[in-house]
Structures are given as structure tokens and as C-alpha cells.
Symmetry: C4
Subunit: 202 residues, 4 copies
């Protein structure tokens, strides 16, 4: 059964690694024109911002997925399906990222940021579904039960926090994206520490 | 010999993971125009539908491939070749998906849906070839013989079902795609349960 | 040291899996025009031919790479570098494939087929370099020495055969591509059998 | 804990393998025009040069990453984060490569080469951060301490050497790229040998 989750992890790692590496393809290569290349490159800053933000989001999601599967010992069909739903969210990230990069300057900034944050709301919900399913179906390692409560608390914040980011889009796109950066940092911290525990996580 | 099939699985997992993640690249990024971004994004619904359908198809094919290889214990050259044929079908999916996305609105909807379903007919046939070859060459784990009959029954339905989808295209493209969604659900159910068994599959 | 070659194999598998799956991206998605979609799809047959040929080439190269590494037990820096050279050839395949697909109809057919076959000459040379280096540095499993001679004989044919294909381009592009198909079949057969041995390879 | 670093390695291998294989997508497929295909293909030499240089850079970075992780035995959150920073650099390579390929001929050559070398300065710094963090947090295998000094010496050269390449861009783009080729060769040599040791590394 260990081999069961190990092949799920290998497939998931593949999807995370590909999605994170495809992000760079969405940055436009400036063509040879009258304008200087440096100027053209600098005018593309929204693309670099969107690339960096999404890179760290996917990276942090990978770290969290990885942490999750250190606790999960058995797999069943429900787990396979919910993991697939999570991977759907991850593999979709290059699309809202590219939309945000292109429209951050323009009238579509609000809609682009809403799409971007909407994607993260969905992913945060999928993470919670995967986690609570694993808990309720007792797919976890017995020794993980202590950390389980801390993970549950940290994950519960996700959908709400991204929903706030999403709502904030109608107030200020800049504030919403700033909160996005803050959330990336928050989810990079391991659950026990974030939840006030003192075990050196991982 | 276990390591023999494990490297085939690793390579196959790679192809499945890449094909499923490349799907997102086929969704067009709306450019900055007079039209509102939200309107442009909503008008692209056929792209999202095609993306979702193909994502779950590839995901379910991966789950089935994974189930298959939990039964296969030995590999020979025929198996390598038939597995390659199956991967050919999987890696081709982004093409009919993009064609369907772009032409679902237009006069080419019928041809696009036919191409889409034709791809799945081919993949279903390749799955059957791989399975029956493994059976006939006794590449299976002895203990799998019980589940083998159930898998054979479920797989036999595939080529016929997708051929019906394909034929249905000339009656109604919508009905054909609705049946596609239904089949995705059917093949997500493990063979024993689908065939009326009661062992909790996987 | 087993783990040494296993990480090389994992990285190589990744490159093979990605290169084989990227091929589909080179097939153009017909846009919505006056022309019927079926006609447009059928006019793209050179793309499908090039896709299929390259898919099987990369697939067969993966099978051969996989066979090679069942014999290789130790890795050194030379092996890492020669393997990288081979992966360079593999990862380049989507480019000559796309050039062939687009120019097979046109005045550039000869140059396109020459580029395509030139790539395979290079890859065949890299395979020989990798193999002879492993032999001369005694990186092989002792028990593999028997098969080694058969592999050496089969591999020696590669550069010469593809050089003939390449030369044939100036006589007839069609004949050259037909010979390509034949060679794909030849290299799909395991070395012992191709060389007249009778052990059931793999 | 061994399994801890093994999943990091698998994910990193994925990113390296995808980044190295995506490079080919940046080479433009010549379209059917009046100009002969051979001429068009030859005029694209800057693309081939940039492709080859970046291919070997990523390949050599993979070899070095692989060598690094043969020494690293334990993982913590800092290592995960610094490894992610390194992968950010690796996954970005296709962008400066494509910019260099397109602008090497034109007025933007200096800016393109600066961007290209700037990327390598950043990657060299990230490699040093990862290495010194692993040293200071005692994440290394005990038996690796002897090689550690040699690796430290070789890595320390990186940021400085690429900074020189970067500065050289304002003197001569050609000289800068020539030094790039030289550095690729230098980092391909294992640390002990490069640092004057005599153990046959790897």
C-alpha cells in the first residue's frame, strides 16, 4: 500500500513540476523593433511579477502536498479522485497567471485578479477536501494524529483567506495582490509552527 | 523483473502527467481589446469545457493504467510496444481537445467532435490490446486472476461505448458530448464494482 | 552505485517523456475559416505522418536506452556527459519534426528531410559513443558481456543506415522516409534477435 | 529522512528535465516562403547557439545538483525553500535563451547578453546559498566533509565568474559568450579535480 501512495506522489510531482516550469512559456519574447530591448523588457514587469507569484504558489503547494503525503499511508478511489481535483487546480495556474500578466496594466485588471484569486480559492478548497477525506477515511499514519489538528487549523484558513483576496479585488487590485504575497509566506511556514506549536516541522 | 515494469510505469506516468498539464496551454489568453475581459473570458466556455473533459479523461486513464500495472508483474517487448501505442493515444489528446474547443461554436463542430471521439475509440482499443496481450502472455500476478475477468468485462465496453459516441455525433453533437461525460464517470468506478462485484477495489 | 544510475535513468526518462509528449504541440490547430474543418484536418496529413514517425522513433530510443541501462551498473563523469549528448539529440527531435511537417509539401522538402535524417545520424552516433564508452570503461554488469556483442553489432548499423537515409534524400525524399519507417521497425527488435541470437531479449 | 531528500530530488529532476526539453520550443519553425528553407535554417544560427549553450548549462547544473544531493542526507524547510529558489532560476532559463537567440543579431544584443548572464549570476548565488545552508545546518552526510571544502571552493568561483561575464557584455558581447562556453566546461569538471584534488569524483 506504501507503493500505492508512492505512485500517486510520483504522478503528482510530475504535474507540479510541469506546471511550475510551463509558467515561463507565458512570458512574451520581445521582438526586434525600433524600441530598445531593455525598455521592452522592463515594460513587461507585470509578467515577471505574475511569474514569480505563481512560481512560489505552486512551489509552496508542492511542499504542502509533499507534507500531506508524509502523513497519508493508504490510498483509495476517493483519494485518487480528490487528488486529481487538486492537480486540476494546479495544472490550470499558468492560464490565470498569463491573463493577469497581460491585463494588469489595462481595464481588465480587476477581472484578471478575480480570476487569479478565484483559482486559489478553488485550490484551497480542494486541499481541504483532500485532507478531511483522508482524516475521515482513516488513511493517515497513526503517529500523524498529533500534527493532524495543526494541519486542519492551517488549512481551514486557506479558502477564507483567498476569498478575502478575491473580495478585495473590487476594492483595490494592488491590495489584493499584496495580500496574496503575504499568504504565500504564511503557507510556506509548516503547520505546527504556524499554529503555534513548537516541534520543528517538516 | 519488478524493476522492469517500474521503469515502464515511471515513463508512462511522465507522459500522462505531461499530457494532462499541457492541456492548459491550448486555452487562448484573451488580448487587451475594446471588449471587456470578463466577456472575452466567458465567451471561451467551450475551451474550459474541452479542458475539463480531457483533464478528467486523462486522469481516469492514468488511474486505469495504474490499476492495470498493479496486476502486471513481467514485461516483454510486446508489452513495451502496446504500452507505447497507448501512450501515443494519450499524448495526442491535447490536439483533438484544442480542435473541439475552437470549433464547438462553429460549422466544424461535427467534425471536431468526431475527431475527439475517434481518439477515444482508438485509446479504448489500445487499452484492450494491452490488457488481452498481458492476459494471453501470462504477464499477470497470479493473485490477480480473480479481478481479471471483471477488468476484461469493463474494458470490453470501452471501444463499443466510444464508437456509439462517435456515431451519435452525426445525430447530435451535444448528446455525444453528454454521453462522453457519462463514460468518464463510468470508467472512474473500479472494475469490480462496475461489474457488480463487492470487493472495495483499487 | 545502483542509485547512481537510477537517478540518471529518472532524469533521462523525464527528457524522453517530455520530448515525446511535446511533439503534439507542433501540430497546428485549424482555425475557423470558410474551408470545412474536415478538409483542413486532412490537408495536414504531413503533420500526422511526421508526428507518428517521430513518436515511434523517440519511443524506440527510450526502449533502447532502457535496455542499455539494464546492462550499465556504474556511472562516471564521462557517462553523464555522453548521456547528456544523447538527450540533446532526443530533446531536439520536435524541431526537425515540425520543419518536416510544414515543408513536406513544398520546395523545402529536401532540406527538411535532410535536417530530419541528419538529426537521426547524430543520435545514432551518440548512442554508439555511449555504448562503447561504457564497454571500454567496464561500467557494465558482468553478466551482460554475452549480450554486449549483439548490441554492438546492432548499434554499429545505426549511423551508417541513417547516413544512407540522409544521402537518399537527394535521390527521393519519399524513398528516404520509407527507409526511415523500416529502420524504426528494425531498432524496435531487441538486439539478440536482430543479430540472429535466440534468447528472448528484454 | 532519506526518503525526504529523494522526493525533493524527484521533483527537482522533473523541473530540470522539463526546462532542458522546453528549450527546443523556442526555436522558430521557418514558414513556407520564397526564400529557400536551407537559407532560412542557416540564418537561425543564433537560435542554435543559444539552445546548445543553455542545454549544456542546464545539463551541467543538473549534474551539480545531483552531486550536491549525494552529500545531503537530511532536509528541512530552509533547504526546501532554497532548493525552490534554485529551481526558479533553472525554470527561467528558456526566457533569456529565447531573448538572446532573437536579439543576438540586432541592436539589443548587449541587453540580451546581460539578461542571459544576469540569470546565471543569480543561479550561481542560489547554488552557493543552498550549499552553505546545508553545511551550516549540518544536513550533510558525515563522510562528505572531506569533499565539502573542494565543493565550497569551486562554487565560490561561480557568482564572481558570471559577474565578470556580465560586466564583459559592455566590452564585447562575443567575448562574454566565449567565456560562458569556457565556464560551462569548468563546471562540468567534478569539484575535487577542478580544485586540484585527485579522487576520481562522482
Amino acid at each position: 500500500m506504501a507503493s500505492e501512495t508512492s505512485r500517486i506522489e510520483a504522478f503528482s510531482d510530475g504535474v507540479f513540476a510541469i506546471a511550475i516550469t510551463l509558467l515561463i512559456l507565458e512570458i512574451k519574447i520581445p521582438s526586434v523593433t525600433q524600441a530598445s530591448l531593455s525598455t521592452q523588457l522592463m515594460q513587461q514587469w507585470p509578467s515577471y511579477f505574475a511569474f514569480l507569484l505563481s512560481f512560489f504558489f505552486i512551489g509552496i503547494m508542492w511542499i504542502n502536498h509533499h507534507r500531506l503525503f508524509t502523513h497519508i499511508r493508504r490510498a483509495d478511489n476517493g483519494l485518487l479522485f480528490l487528488n486529481l481535483l487538486l492537480l486540476l487546480g494546479v495544472s490550470a495556474v499558468p492560464f490565470p497567471t498569463a491573463v493577469l500578466a497581460i491585463h494588469l496594466h489595462s481595464a481588465g485588471a480587476r477581472a484578471a485578479a478575480a480570476l487569479y484569486n478565484g483559482t486559489y480559492v478553488a485550490i484551497a478548497i480542494f486541499f481541504n477536501l483532500l485532507w478531511h477525506y483522508s482524516l475521515s477515511r482513516k488513511l493517515l499514519d497513526q503517529s500523524s494524529m498529533e500534527s493532524a489538528a495543526a494541519i486542519s487549523r492551517q488549512y481551514a484558513i486557506g479558502p477564507l483567506a483567498y476569498a478575502i483576496c478575491l473580495a478585495l479585488v473590487w476594492v483595490s487590485v494592488t491590495a489584493s495582490l499584496a495580500l496574496n504575497v503575504g499568504l504565500a509566506v504564511f503557507f510556506a511556514i509548516p503547520a505546527q509552527r504556524a499554529a503555534g506549536g513548537h516541534r520543528d516541522g517538516q
